[in-house]
């Protein structure tokens, strides 16, 4: 019996699956192609029947017009502020919390960690209304505070992710430092953090994605269009009489492109983060 590989497909099956994979991949990728090509069209071209794949003359100027016809710089600035604050707070708070849940032995640790995990399945809708009322009473509605302050108090998914990583770091390193008289904070900052750059990178990426892509948070908590994010700004112009579809598609490319670049550069951290959520399945 000859030794076969992997899932033991016969040559015919390999051909079929390769072709299938290629067809499916094409189906999944073609909307990106369409969006990119359409972002270079004049608005009228979007409505030609039957659909035209290529713009007659690529309108590169769409990418300049967006600065005039859409408050791009303002919304981009707002989004960037939120992204930076949320990344900093996510790394600072979740590494501390995960350290407490993995590198120090204390009574009740595992029980509280189950509470952390339980909050992962809590639907946002359950807390959404009281949070809105709470922020309303604090006069935080219409400011960035509801979109930034909670991030300083940790997030279940990041705590879980970092804790798993910290557990894989041998405790002997911490004991040695403790014998030398190092405090917990010193062990955290000088030993654990430098060893955890892969996990921290994953947290930074997911924190960026979460904030960059967030729509519901800004929708509920922002009221002043001077503070709108790119997502909320885009959604708002869809309600105009003239939704400027060409601008929206151009914006779509601009908003998607940075995410794709980051993905291609840091792919393994994405896959790690995604696969990690499933391991415990």
């Amino acid at each position: 019996m000859r030794v076969k590989e992997a899932n033991y497909l016969e040559p015919g099956e390999i051909a079929v699956t390769t072709v299938l994979a290629a067809v499916l991949a094409f189906v999944f990728i073609v909307p990106f192609l369409w969006m990119t090509l359409s972002s270079l069209k004049v608005p009228a071209e979007l409505f030609i029947v039957p659909m035209q794949w290529l713009p007659k003359k690529p309108q590169w100027s769409n990418y300049l017009r967006i600065f005039n016809e859409f408050p791009f710089l303002l919304d981009f600035r707002n989004t960037s502020i939120l992204v930076v604050v949320n990344i900093v707070s996510a790394v600072a708070s979740n590494t501390l919390i995960a350290y407490g849940f993995s590198k120090i032995e204390w009574k009740g640790r595992e029980t509280l960690f189950y509470v952390v995990l339980a909050t992962l399945i809590l639907p946002f809708q359950v807390v959404m209304i009281p949070l809105f009322i709470l922020f309303h009473r604090l006069h935080w509605i219409g400011t960035f505070l509801p979109l930034t302050v909670p991030g300083f108090f940790g997030s279940a998914f990041f705590i879980f992710l970092l804790r798993q990583f910290f557990l894989s770091i041998p405790n002997e390193l911490c004991y040695a430092a403790k014998i030398d008289g190092a405090s917990e904070f010193r062990i955290y900052s000088r030993i654990i953090l430098p060893l955890s750059t892969p996990a921290i990178t994953t947290v930074i990426i997911f924190s960026f994605l979460r904030t960059w892509n967030d729509f519901i948070g800004p929708l509920i908590f922002l009221t002043d269009n001077k503070l709108y994010t790119l997502s909320l700004g885009a959604q708002q112009i869809m309600h105009n009489l003239d939704p400027k579809w060409d601008m929206l598609l151009t914006l779509g490319v601009i908003m998607t492109f940075p995410v794709l670049v980051i993905f291609f550069l840091l792919q393994k951290y994405f896959i790690q983060g995604i696969a990690m959520t499933g391991i415990k399945g």
């Binding site: 033991y8 640790r109 209304i129 009281p130 967030d214 997502s231 779509g252 995410v259 896959i271 499933g278």
Partner: protein, 292 residues
């Protein structure tokens, strides 16, 4: 296990941000949401206690509530079937290690999950256009006149399932990770016994990764119950309330009609339904699933 006083103090100190955040942003809202669900509350006037009135209204008289529940259950049942079948098929195809360019394919299926939600909605409004949309354009290439997906109450929900399928690459990645853990010896034995691809898939692959299937299904079901931004942006719940999903109606009650009490009651029913589905799926898993 011995705990020293110092470790106890340090441990709690390190997780103290989470404790504070949990109390303010999770525990307090859970309990006040339960309280609001028993009141009539429009934010401006103080809450008026009305016992189980909101729950009774929703279940007995609110036909829109019933519609939104039906729409969401439709997405749960048909969406789970279609999306699980499709993502699992893709993962099984890709798990064939002799396939050329696996890394490339894996990236392709993952890319749609990176598209920001609002852009996803804008893109799919155009994908689903009856005349110029990508889907109907491809249908016209094979001689089919495509329908007005978002104008037809019977097709709007399937259209949403297509959109959700497009963004299910995360499930494919998770399935691929699960498939890698299946011992190759099982396939060897099956192969010697002359099992074909279908037999190997249904007798080995699916039973072996049933915990992963379970995880993805739970994730999808909870996601479906919570999703409203897509229907809020794309259809506003139309046509004829066909995409008025549970959480969209909840959002409308809270932030458009300012019925905070009613919306809170909906949130609690949502929580109970979500817990029910988790318990159900875990029960099924215990009974029929593969155990190591």
């Amino acid at each position: 296990m011995m705990w020293t006083r110092r470790d106890q103090r340090n441990g709690l100190l390190f997780i103290s941000p989470w404790i504070i955040g949990f109390l303010i942003f999770t525990a307090y809202p859970i309990f006040s949401s339960l309280y609001y669900s028993l009141t009539q509350y429009n934010v401006v006037d103080p809450p008026k206690f009305r016992g189980l009135g909101n729950y009774i209204d929703l279940i007995t008289t609110d036909t829109v509530f019933r519609t939104s529940l039906y729409n969401t259950l439709y997405m749960v049942v048909f969406g789970t079937i279609v999306i699980t079948a499709a993502t699992l098929t893709i993962a099984i195809i890709l798990s064939n290690r002799r396939i050329k360019g696996l890394a490339f394919f894996r990236v392709i299926f993952f890319l749609p999950t990176l598209v920001p939600l609002v852009i996803l909605c804008i893109l799919w409004i155009w994908m689903l256009q009856p005349q110029t949309g990508l889907i109907n354009t491809f249908l016209s290439y094979v001689g089919i006149k495509g329908p007005g997906w978002l104008a037809d109450p019977h097709l709007a929900r399937p259209a949403f399932i297509m959109m959700f399928l497009w963004t299910s690459g995360g499930a494919v990645i998770i399935y691929l990770a699960g498939l890698q853990d299946i011992p190759q010896s099982l396939y060897e034995v099956a192969s010697i016994d002359g099992a074909n691809l279908f037999q190997r898939t249904f007798k080995i692959t699916i039973p072996m990764i049933s915990p992963v299937i379970l995880f993805n299904v739970i994730t999808y079901v909870i996601g479906i119950f919570q999703s409203f931004a897509e229907s809020f942006i794309i259809t506003s719940g139309g046509p004829n309330q066909a995409t008025l999903f549970y959480s969209l109606y909840l959002y409308q009650n809270a932030f458009q009609y300012f019925k905070m009490g009613l919306a809170s009651a909906m949130a609690w029913i949502l929580l109970i339904i979500a817990l029910f589905f988790i318990a159900l799926l875990l029960g099924l898993e215990k009974r029929f699933g593969y155990r190591q």
